[in-house]
């Protein structure tokens, strides 16, 4: 996740509280000042209450004494460590947020235009319906499935606007928990770190299917198929539509067909997480081909979308959950239940991001411009991959095959480095990455490829 939500009201924790602070219990507000001791008395001590006389009673022990610090988020923790580093050659390859060649965050031109248009329009800020902005829901489904897709024409898709990928996944998870009690979700090993957290908090059991093969630094296809086959019938199989996170390894079209066969065979439900449509190949349509293939087979499919990366709208939290059903009646019912889940979570989704996406995707000129910018962003990443590969191949004389850098796709690359080697990357070379060996190529410039190659070669060969 690019944007951190932490809102630390306090500055730094004090190592110890002065006794004065502990003893202090005097509050002066307005014209009534009360004095009471902050003792650790029995909070359930009862006294007879007559008006306001009983102020000297129960102490003000916080009920949240026992709460411990939650562990830091592994991905955002990397950015924090990077910020703290003063080395001039430091490189942040941690979080998957797109950067320009100058390593600056990039606001898409189409987004700036759309934002400006919205500002000029001066639209109202009324509540959206629970399912979100209708114009957005329409274009997002069309973008994913294709405007001419029969499932859209037959109104067989339940689309509900969600808070980016995370929020959309959570809605689907809650739906699974409610209607498929006990059913498991299978997630790839490895997968995006937050997937398991989402399913845990939604109380949906999960297990893993093999995916990454460290020997080949590629896909363990046989392991994947075997594990999907072995799962209890009617499981939900979480698939990355394109640009797998964190490995960058996608199945080939033929492999996708086999995966679909097995899923149908076992009566599983395919559950796509599409966070990078357009970012993998540069083509929005091409990147949706895996999902479209499943849908074309007549399968019922769940698909979560995010516009955080491909429109750079990380902070606006815009995405959608789509459930393709075999009938429009089922779609209507499913949609109503998704709404029922959203209402006690946040009532209705935020309007701004939805309007931006709707205006871009819904306008032919802006949509064309977006396609071009998408190609440019994906293109930059492909160039960087090429340069990195070239640097690695020319500098490393050991004969190791570095071609996985080119074969992998999207923002991320699984380098195959182990934890100790990753530590070396950070400690010796000031290259920040996640400990699973993932680097974000979106944070790499052509200028830094050679330096990175040196770091990787050193870590790979000299550290174990």
């Amino acid at each position: 996740m690019a944007s951190s939500v932490l809102s630390l009201a306090s500055a730094t924790p004090s190592a110890s509280l002065s006794s004065h602070e502990i003893e202090k219990g005097k509050l002066n507000l307005g014209n009534s000042s009360l004095c009471f001791k902050k003792e650790k008395t029995n909070p359930f001590m009862k006294t007879k209450s007559v008006g306001r006389i009983s102020m000297a009673v129960a102490s003000n022990v916080s009920r949240f004494e026992a709460i411990t610090m939650a562990p830091p988020d592994p991905i955002l923790g990397v950015s924090e460590a990077f910020k703290a580093d003063n080395h001039e050659l430091k490189l942040n390859l941690g979080v998957g947020a797109y950067r320009t060649e100058e390593l600056q965050p990039y606001v898409l031109d189409v987004v700036k235009k759309a934002d400006k248009l919205l500002l000029e329009k001066g639209e109202n800020r009324e509540y959206l319906p629970i399912e979100g902005l209708a114009a957005f829901n329409k274009v997002t489904a069309e973008l994913l499935f294709g405007a001419d897709n029969p499932v859209i024409k037959q109104q067989r898709v339940a689309t509900v606007q969600g808070l980016s990928g995370t929020g959309s996944l959570r809605l689907a998870a809650a739906l699974i928990e409610r209607y498929f009690s006990g059913a498991k979700v299978l997630i790839s090993s490895p997968t995006w770190g937050n997937h398991k957290n989402i399913f845990n908090d939604a109380r949906v059991p999960w297990s893993e299917y093999r995916y990454y093969d460290p020997k080949t630094v590629g896909l363990d296809f046989e392991g994947m198929i075997a594990d999907i086959k072995a799962a209890p019938e009617g499981s939900f199989i979480l698939l990355h539509g394109c640009a797998h996170n964190p490995t960058g390894i996608d199945p080939t079209p033929e492999q996708w067909e086999t995966i679909a066969d097995v899923i149908q065979e076992k009566n599983h439900i395919p559950f796509f997480d599409i966070a990078y449509q357009g970012f993998a190949s540069g083509s929005l349509d091409a990147d949706a081909s895996s999902v479209r293939m499943f849908v074309a087979r007549g399968m019922e499919v769940i698909a979560a979308q995010s516009y955080s990366k491909n429109l750079g709208l990380y902070a606006e939290r815009i995405g959608a959950i789509n459930v393709v059903c075999s009938s429009s009646d089922a779609a209507a019912r499913v949609k109503s239940q998704l709404k029922r889940i959203a209402r006690p979570m946040y009532s209705n989704p935020p309007v701004h991001g939805a309007r931006i996406v709707a205006s871009i995707v819904g306008d032919a000129t802006l949509f064309k411009e977006w396609n071009a910018e998408m190609e440019m962003m994906a293109g930059r990443i492909m160039n960087v991959r090429q340069k990195l590969f070239d640097s690695l191949s020319s500098k490393d004389k050991s004969g190791k095959d570095w071609s996985f850098v080119l074969k992998q796709i999207g923002m991320f690359s699984f380098t195959g480095l182990n934890k100790a080697q990753c530590d070396n990357m950070t400690n010796k070379w000031h290259v920040y990455m996640t400990k699973d060996g993932r680097i974000s190529l979106a944070g790499l410039s052509l200028a830094k490829c050679e330096y990175l190659a040196d770091a990787i070669i050193d870590s790979y060969h000299n550290v174990s």
Partner: protein
Amino acid sequence: MSTASTCATRCSWWDHVTPALKDPISAVTQAFLADPCPYKINLGVGAYRDDEGKPVVLQCVREAEAKIEASNFLESTSTALSSKLVEESAKLVYGEDSDVIKEKRFAGIPALSGTGACRLFAEFQKRFYPESRIYLPDPTWSNHRNIWREVHVPDRTFRYYHPDSKSLNFMALMDDVKNAPDGSFFLLHPCAHNPTGVDPTDEQWREISSLFKVKNHFPFFDVAYQGFASGDVEGDAKAIRIFLEDGHSIGCAQSFSKNMGLYGHRVGVLSVLCNDKIQAMAINSQLQQISRTMYGSPPIHGISIVSKILSDPDIKAIWLKEVKVYLVSSFFFRFCTLFDFHYYKDDWTDSLSIISKCYKVMATRIHRMRVILREALERLESPLNWQHITNQVGMFCFSGLNRAEVYLLEKEFHIYMTPDGRISMAGVTTKNVDYLANAIHEVTACDQDAKILHNTDAYKINTDIRFTSLGTSKTRARGMNLAL
């Protein structure tokens, strides 16, 4: 074993998914939108409308947006903005000079408006007090129950609204608070109670706070209308300040939907008071974790608008004026009502034109509509007592209309409101108020028995109650238990 060819004939995975019951509040809007009648009125959802019935974008919001660098949000800026929002929001609700603020004894996190803040707290409560319950006022906003139920925290109610007098049932409230087990979690509306508009007086709040202290209850405030109730942001936070004075460590869900008109942007804050900064950090980390698996973080656009408004003194001044009821005009209203001074909309405008011309004043308009509606009903010589229309506070009026009457209003008069008879005063305008008064009069005055029904058993008992509530009376109002 199924292949592609038999897929289409296979049953859907979703056959067992039944259609969800519609949310009672948004169902009203949907029904309204589907109605072709040209003079229909929507009194359902609590979103402010001007006298033309149009939504309003506040000037302070426009100014804030103009100053924000459009869509130029670095991750570091996002974090800084979120912190700023929490800081400023805490100052707003707890008071800039409160010790809690000075000592930074609070945990806070941006949330998806009031709903999101309540949900975060409910999840937090479940996580750290898994056996606890939540006590909700009877009635309360219909979504409160959904929220705590979703996280499997059972709810109980405490008596609040007295249907006969259409005011606070204070003795029963204190009784229920006393009878609840020590250390219970209570949800309170600090001002402009939704749906009744009935608020405790300052003195009553002091007594409630005292009793809470004795019982060691946890007060959780849903602050959805700060500034919107009386027009004064400080005054609307009085209940909270009273609890703070008494040393309670409270929790607060704040929403900027109404008081800044930012409904669709979903901006709010959850704060929890604690002993010290260290504990604040721990609680923050837990809240952050909860939100990360639900939606990541709230959208930055709304956060940046609110943090700009609250931290820029010029823009904040504009905001305060836009919600404000002027002392002169509010005194004037109370003066009029007190002495039965009847006036019509034109007289008022003439009298206060100099002041009212300058600013859009939301709370004033609402209050004005209350007066006009009540007066219109009295002019029609309605046999019923409509004092509660002007006694109640905030956006809503708990009219006392029963379900049958609400149904008639919809079918015969194309006037839409939630089945509990809650009217959103924001939907009343100078153009439709006479029509509304006539309609209400028609459906309530036609029947001799209507008066009795109206005053004693205004609400049907909802038999779909899974948990019993405090007290034994079967005829208590059940406005909150709508069809769900």
